[in-house]
Amino acid sequence: MVRIETRQASVDFPIFDAKTRSLKKAVLGMVGGNISSDDRKVPVIQALHDIDISIEEGDRVALVGHNGAGKSTLLRLLSGIYAPTSGTAHIEGRVAPVFDLGVGMDPEISGYENIMIRGLFLGMTRKQMESRVDEIADFTELGDFLAMPLRTYSTGMRVRLALGVVTSIDPEILLFDEGIGAVDAAFLEKARDRLEELVKRAGLLVFASHSDEFLRRLCTSAIWMEHGRVKQRGDLREVLTAYKGRDPWLDDAAGRA
């Protein structure tokens, strides 16, 4: 059973500065009178308010909204990285978050070893990764470089390696944050197919992106975030039209005509 359900979930980030981070100040504030006049209350940024969503197995949800709307924070809430500061979030299933392709990569070790580690971080076992290594190596086309330390790679090569690993897993819950990054066009075409295969294997998908093309290919429904709240939830075409102000499908037809 794979699903995510949040009820009235909010995420508030405390903003610490040097004073509020200090144990000494916290303790001194408790004894004696108020010597300092600074306000000890920690300011808080309300990133998400009252998020009520339910995502079931088989759902392919697009996440759209302007920068700063709370898409990345929502993805982190859905992945379990942030527990809600109020409300609840219930996550069933193994989460494979793809937020930063480079996380967990170690520049000092070889490409092969990085594949292993990245896979372990994504919840795969050693045996599973070992059986996939060859397939990933073929896909990345990195050849002999795979035996070299990661620090010798160009950015594009690193992205290829990361993409290779990330698209080889068997996710139950796949959460994708946009910004796949610097890859050459030919490779991106190859990656797109592999990405589609990955999404097919996933139990459920939430994909945050500004790219209509990707969203239309991979998703069936959408959530529109604005100022930390869910503005609209529904069928992909409906929500995208509301968000963009015009129907992206009609643009195609107009383009072809």
């Binding site: 990285i81 989460v95 978050p97 170690d106 971080f121």
Partner: protein
């Protein structure tokens, strides 16, 4: 604060974190091993570097303090060496423990994982370092044989106890210092001070059995330092000395209290760590 349905849910959350973290053994064991390899990558001596630095320190200080205290080298050197190896483990767990979540901020904010994973990795890494240093101990046994017997096997459960303590200390201080950043340097200073308060270069029993009754009495005060007991439970079996059970009692007591406090803290603050780092 995270609103939980009931207090049961919060305890369950803490327990699940520890269990799930343990289950990700493949990940943290591999990472801990990588951490060690990192230390001697691109170095000429390789892993031997870790053992040699321990050996050189122990030999130099052994000769110095044997001279200062007027002890025979075959008594002073093994005492110092074993003390150093164990101290390295204990202080490593405490110092790195206080830093553990701060250092892993990137991973914590990008990958959903039980926070205990980072602690297990740390304790495993320290265990591997301890094992590297045991090579020096083995060489020492050849040069200065110790009267080891069956009771020396107590060193194994003693080390297990040390590791279990390393875990709660790292969890507790790690959580606290991710919220209060000045805790890190405070812990650093206290650990430095504790080194001198602990019988590592000075032999506890010598002062306890001193001819001068004032000194003998005052030596007892050293037992206020909990680390003394931790070192004694493992150093005594490793040097073939007889077991002093009250040290074990103190360590077990601290372990239970420590874990109780840590579980309580985990219950309340475990989910705050990603917000604090």
């Amino acid at each position: 604060m995270a609103v939980t349905a009931s207090s049961n849910a919060a305890w369950a959350g803490a327990r699940k974190d520890l269990v799930a973290g343990w289950r990700s053994r493949e990940l943290w064991a591999h990472l801990g091993w990588q951490d060690i390899r990192q230390r001697y990558r691109r170095s000429v001596l390789g892993p031997i570097w870790i053992t040699i630095s321990m050996a050189v320190t122990a030999i130099a200080l052994g000769i110095l303090y044997a001279g200062l205290f007027g002890n025979p080298l075959e008594t002073q050197l093994p005492y110092i060496l074993v003390g150093f190896i164990v101290w390295a483990f204990i202080s490593g767990c405490i110092l790195e423990g206080a830093d553990v979540f701060i250092k892993n901020e990137g991973l914590i904010k990008h990958l959903p994982a039980p926070i205990s994973v980072h602690v297990y990795r740390l304790v495993w890494r320290q265990t591997l370092l301890f094992a590297h240093n045991l090579i020096v101990y083995a060489v020492m046994l050849v040069i200065f044989p110790q009267p080891l017997d069956w009771s020396s096997l107590l060193a194994f459960p003693a080390f297990a106890l040390l590791a279990v303590n390393g875990a709660w200390i790292a969890l507790l201080f790690g959580m606290a210092s991710s919220r209060f950043r000045d805790l890190n340097p405070i812990v650093g200073s206290v650990v430095q001070l504790t080194f001198f308060l602990t019988p590592i270069v000075w032999i506890y029993e010598d002062f306890l059995n001193s001819d001068n009754p004032t000194i003998a009495e005052r030596a007892r005060l050293a037992e206020i330092n909990p680390v003394l007991h931790y070192i004694e439970i493992i150093r005594r079996p490793m040097l073939g000395q007889e077991t002093v059970w009250h040290h074990w009692a103190v360590v077990v007591g601290i372990t239970l209290v420590g874990w109780a406090v840590t579980l309580w803290a985990m219950r309340r603050y475990r989910t705050r760590v990603p917000y604090w780092v």
